[in-house]
């Protein structure tokens, strides 16, 4: 077997923040420090070091940490350099590393893969780390961290316990009913199974919200043409230039902007205007806008202040259904109405920038109110989890529909299946575990 190369990469997203973390993992991690003119600090203790380039020039004053393998994140020796976030510094340090023999830039995910292969992480945890690395916002990070803590593992572990208990009762009923000491009547499994199914179903629903946090909460901006929707989106894009995902600082109009509001990733998207029209092309546009609004997690209705008095019935209806109502162009108004279509109106002038802060604040609160509990509850964030839980749920539903009196082996079969699917998240339900339960709970054997 060839020895693994030493790899390095920036652990923080490029372009953001005052500090950048560069992580180095592999057999030569220690030596890289020497080549940078720095001594190796005590394990797991941060120390300040001057990093020097090949020519002896100081590159940066950095915080340096050393994690000896195998008790490090990757299972190998790991060095972390916390350097100043400026582009020039990062580039200089990364360049110095890249020039060292046997040291190569890491492929995406390489750290996590090494950790996973070293047996340092289970699959759920590895996925959580992948999310952690990709986490761009505080809420995403917190969610990923909880999962890493074993939040999801702990939950699925509890389910596994339930299934194990039920299976033990069922298998004992099948395998040992002639051996005297097991009750002849069918075990009462409907209650625990129903409860379990309920919990899994709930988790799946919450899981949907969890996926949203990971992928970004989508907010549709709707409203009649010329209300100022694209002006709003573009204004926000310019204001939040530091965290615009796709095309920072472009002058081109954007139709989508990603914001970090109160720790949540939010994608705000512009839509075609809502208006009654006979033009078929525009009709199609309106239809799509409404679809988009319906598919989005939240919708914001933008109305033009000067036209506020003459809303059509349709528009009233859409405004009443929206999550937030923004009244734009208040620079043109004498008096701003407090309530529109039964909703509190948020007064904004995109042109002057007045009210934009307030709007962001209200939007952040709305999102937090809806998603904050999800962040805490370590929801199902991965398709793989979702799929396993869905399969488990449908097996449980089948089991509950079966007849324990006449076909206990079929009901048991479905519970076994459910256990197998849950096992894909929480670890396998092994027959030995079931037998352990049986033998400690029942006096088996003639």
């Amino acid at each position: 077997m060839t020895r693994a190369a030493t790899i390095f990469a920036e652990a923080t997203p490029s372009g953001a923040g005052a500090l950048a973390v560069i992580r180095i993992s592999g057999p030569q991690a220690r030596q890289t420090l020497g080549r940078l003119g720095a001594s190796v600090p005590e394990p797991r203790k941060a120390a300040l070091r001057h990093l020097k380039g090949e020519d002896g020039q100081t590159l940066d004053h950095a915080l340096v940490l050393f994690f000896p393998g195998p008790n490090s994140y990757t299972g190998e020796d790991v060095v972390e350099l916390h350097v100043h976030g400026g582009r020039a510094v990062r580039r200089a340090v990364l360049g110095a590393l890249a020039s060292m023999p046997g040291v190569t830039p890491a492929e995406p995910g390489a750290f996590t893969r090494r950790a996973f292969e070293a047996g340092r992480l289970d699959l759920t945890q590895a996925e959580a780390v992948a999310d952690l690395v990709a986490a761009e916002t505080e809420a995403q990070r917190r969610q990923a961290l909880r999962q890493l803590d074993g939040g999801l593992s702990a939950r699925s572990e509890a389910w596994r316990e339930v299934v194990l208990g039920v299976l033990a009762d069922m298998e004992a009923h099948l395998d040992f009913s002639d051996e005297a000491e097991v009750e002849a009547s069918s075990p009462a499994v409907a209650d625990p199974l129903t409860r379990l199914l309920g919990e899994i179903t709930e988790e799946l629903a919450a899981g949907h919200r969890g996926e949203r946090i990971r992928e970004g909460i989508e907010v549709a901006v709707v409203g009649p043409p010329n209300a100022g929707k694209s002006s709003l989106v573009n204004a926000l894009a310019r204001r939040e230039v530091a965290i615009v995902a796709d095309s920072p600082g472009t002058t081109r109009d954007v139709i989508e902007v990603s914001l970090d509001l109160g720790g949540f990733a939010i994608t705000l998207c512009d839509t075609a205007g809502l208006r009654e029209t006979t033009d078929t092309v525009e009709k199609e546009g309106v239809r799509r806008a409404l679809d988009r609004a319906a598919a989005a997690d939240l919708s914001v209705m933008v109305l033009s202040g000067p036209e506020i008095g003459e809303l059509s019935a349709d528009l009233e209806r859409h405004a009443a259904a929206a999550d937030l109502v923004l009244v734009n162009k208040v620079d043109l108004l004498e008096r701003v109405p407090a309530v529109v279509a039964g909703q509190p109106a948020i007064p904004v002038s995109v042109r002057s920038g007045k009210g934009l802060d307030r709007f962001e604040e209200v939007l952040a609160q709305t999102v937090a109110a809806r998603y904050a509990d999800t962040v805490v509850a370590a929801p199902v964030t991965r398709l793989r989890h979702r799929d396993a839980l869905e399969q488990a749920a449908s097996a449980l539903a089948r089991a509950l529909g079966g007849d324990m009196a006449t076909a206990p082996e079929l009901v048991t079969e479905d519970v076994r299946l459910a256990a197998r699917h849950l096992g894909r998240i929480a670890g396998r339900v092994d027959v030995e575990d079931v037998l352990d339960r049986i033998f400690s709970g029942f006096c088996i054997g003639k």
């Binding site: 996973f116 699959l123 006449t406 206990p408």
Partner: protein
């Protein structure tokens, strides 16, 4: 001058009998060596064969033309299918045996077997070539016999120690000499060993039991035979078992004498099974139970001996008699032989390949209690596979490795060789993940044709089974080609929704409540179909949906099984494995990636590493 045998089998217990007969059926010139011809076919403990999981194994042995099913059919004095009210997949045939009849049936079957010679002798050593392969055995009189392969089925005879209360003496079973020489020869092979224990109850004089007031349990009427061959039942009278139970005074007496029990007095270090606890264990571990059931099983028609199933013990003989007399019906009972516990050595089955050949000793196969199982049926199943593979080795054919997807034999062998044992291994249906498919009713359809191909099934059985398979297929086809409207179906007595859907005969027969009678009501021409056929077709129909769902599971299983891990794999060279897993893998040497995945504690990461290592090795 040494005689050359193809296969020598050591031990004439249940494993040895099947091993010898299977090797001989395969055409190998086979010698079965055992201490005493008189003990061949002995049911040393419980006078019964079969049960859940175990009955499945007997049917599989029978499907491969083994002896056990035919022997118990000859000797049965009470046949009962367990779990009759639960589905067919979890029903298992069981029978009480007349001990004497069983022994003569087994001996007759062995005597009739061509290519098989039985010798009464004690084997004291194994002979190996310079390369380590087995070349033969030595006998107590100094003779050496050469063989192409040897199957060792010495049961509990390796360093066996028997305990009755505080008295211990060496011996494999009451009255048998321990095979200590052989044990030493085996020790020289440096195989990993373990120490287990098991126990047996006292034997009672039935003439001193008062059966009045005890519940009786009779067999099924008519008896359902074990064997798939026709005409195997012995036809003798059928008897009842009786049920009594322990009482609070039994428990008090046992508790008061625990210190004198070999198990609790600390005399025994071996590990016993959790599912067959001694009465001492039951009283200690389940202190809240006021009674434990005891089945009084007759050992034979003309034999007054009664086996009290449920009270195995290693208490001193006087305590045994005293506590037995506290059971209703046993107030005046006389004990014929006291119960005892036995400790013995076993070879860690992880030292075996899935063919049951010892990895380090080419040509040496092990089967039965000596590799950590318990039970006649488990021993018989392993014996058959070991005997067959020994013969195939001599004939230069590849070994047969039964798969988990195909048989309980496959489940058992895979469990043993990949996971090892920490208590005597017994079969349960819960061990089989493909339980709905591995049924006692279809072992012939699962295995007999394969057995013909492997060369272990005789022509009579081949023909009988081929006929049956054809008949089942014909009936299945016929039923799927006929159909009924909902109202026609309801008229015939099927419970269906009035949804306008026509349903074919197979679907209708597969409905939860459906019986063959309804089919006949709908199609009277099917009335003469024999019951054996209608039952299996009904079971197939009933499980069809579930089996279809298992298909993809089975395919995934077989994909992992197809990835063989080389025997020579050096786990210390595989990167990123924890020390613990490395140790586990080196001990078990799983034959396939699938087997590795089934090791306890295996992680996806480790499997990935293993897979990568093996794939790389291949490419290189």
């Amino acid at each position: 001058m040494a005689v050359l045998w193809d296969v020598i089998v050591i031990g004439g217990g249940h494993a040895g009998c099947e091993a010898g007969a299977a090797a001989a059926r395969h055409g190998a010139r086979t010698l079965l060596i055992t201490h005493s011809w008189n003990d061949v076919g002995a049911l040393s403990c419980n006078p019964a064969i079969g049960g859940l999981g175990k009955g499945h194994l007997v049917r599989e042995v029978d499907a491969l033309d083994g002896l056990m099913g035919r022997a118990i059919d000859q000797a049965g004095i009470q046949f009962r299918v367990l779990n009759r009210s639960k589905g067919p997949a979890v029903q298992g045939p069981r029978a009480q045996a007349d001990r004497g009849l069983y022994r003569s049936a087994m001996r007759r079957l062995l005597a009739e077997q061509s290519n098989l010679t039985v010798m009464e002798e004690a084997v004291v050593g194994l002979r190996r070539s310079g390369e380590g392969a087995i070349t033969g055995v030595c006998l107590s009189d100094g003779r050496e016999l050469k063989a192409g392969a040897v199957v060792l089925t010495a049961g509990t005879f390796l360093r066996g120690v028997m305990h009755v209360g505080d008295k211990a003496e060496p011996g494999g079973r009451l009255g048998d000499p321990a095979a200590d020489h052989l044990g030493r020869s085996l020790a020289a092979l440096k195989l990993p060993m373990g120490r287990l224990k098991t126990g047996t109850p006292a034997r009672l004089d039935g003439r001193t039991i008062d059966y009045r007031g005890l519940a009786a349990q009779s067999g099924d009427e008519p008896s359902e035979p074990f064997s798939y061959l026709p005409g195997t039942l012995g036809g003798q009278a059928q008897v009842a078992c009786h049920i009594t139970h322990t009482t609070p005074s039994t428990h008090a007496l046992i508790r008061a004498n625990l210190v004198r029990s070999a198990l609790y007095g600390g005399a025994i270090s071996g590990i016993g099974p959790r599912y067959c606890p001694s009465i001492e264990d039951k009283v200690v571990k389940f202190p809240d139970r006021e009674r434990h059931q005891v089945f009084l099983e007759p050992e034979g028609l003309d034999d007054p001996t009664v086996y009290p199933n449920g009270v195995s013990t290693s208490l001193p003989a006087d305590v045994q008699t005293a506590f037995l007399r506290t059971l209703p019906g046993l107030e005046k009972v006389e004990v014929l032989r006291p119960g005892y516990a036995i400790e013995y050595d076993m070879v860690d089955p992880r030292a075996l390949r899935p063919s049951l050949e010892v990895r380090q000793v080419p040509g040496l196969f092990l089967a039965g209690q000596v590799i950590g199982t318990t039970g006649y049926e488990e021993a018989a199943g392993l014996g058959l596979v070991a005997g067959l593979n020994a013969a195939r080795r001599v004939g230069d054919s590849p070994p047969w490795v039964p798969r988990r997807t195909e048989s309980y034999l496959g489940v058992m062998i895979d469990d043993l060789v990949t996971r090892g044992v920490d208590e005597p291994y017994r079969m349960f249906t819960s061990r089989a993940e493909y339980r709905l498919h591995l049924r006692a009713d279809n072992a012939d359809r699962r295995l007999t044709a394969l057995g013909v191909e492997l060369g272990v099934v005789g022509s009579e059985r081949a023909r009988v089974t081929a006929d049956k398979v054809a008949a089942v297929e014909a009936l299945t086809r016929l039923l799927s080609n006929r159909n009924l409207t909902p109202s026609e179906a309801r008229q015939a007595g099927f419970v269906v929704n009035d949804d306008g859907q026509r349903r074919d005969g197979l679907t209708l027969l597969g409905l939860p409540e459906a019986r063959w009678e309804e089919v006949v009501r709908a199609w009277p021409d099917l009335a003469p179909t024999p019951r054996v056929l209608t039952e299996v077709v009904r079971t197939d129909a009933r499980y069809r949906g579930y089996l279809a769902r298992q298909e993809s599971d089975i395919r995934a299983y077989e994909r992992d099984e197809a990835l063989a891990l080389p025997d020579s794999l050096d786990y210390s060279q595989v990167g990123s494995l924890s020390t613990e897993l490395r140790t586990k893998l080196s001990a078990a040497r799983p034959a396939t990636l699938g087997a590795a995945a089934r090791l306890p504690g295996m992680t996806p990461a480790a499997l990935t590493a293993l897979l990568r290592y093996v794939k790389k090795g291949r490419a290189a």
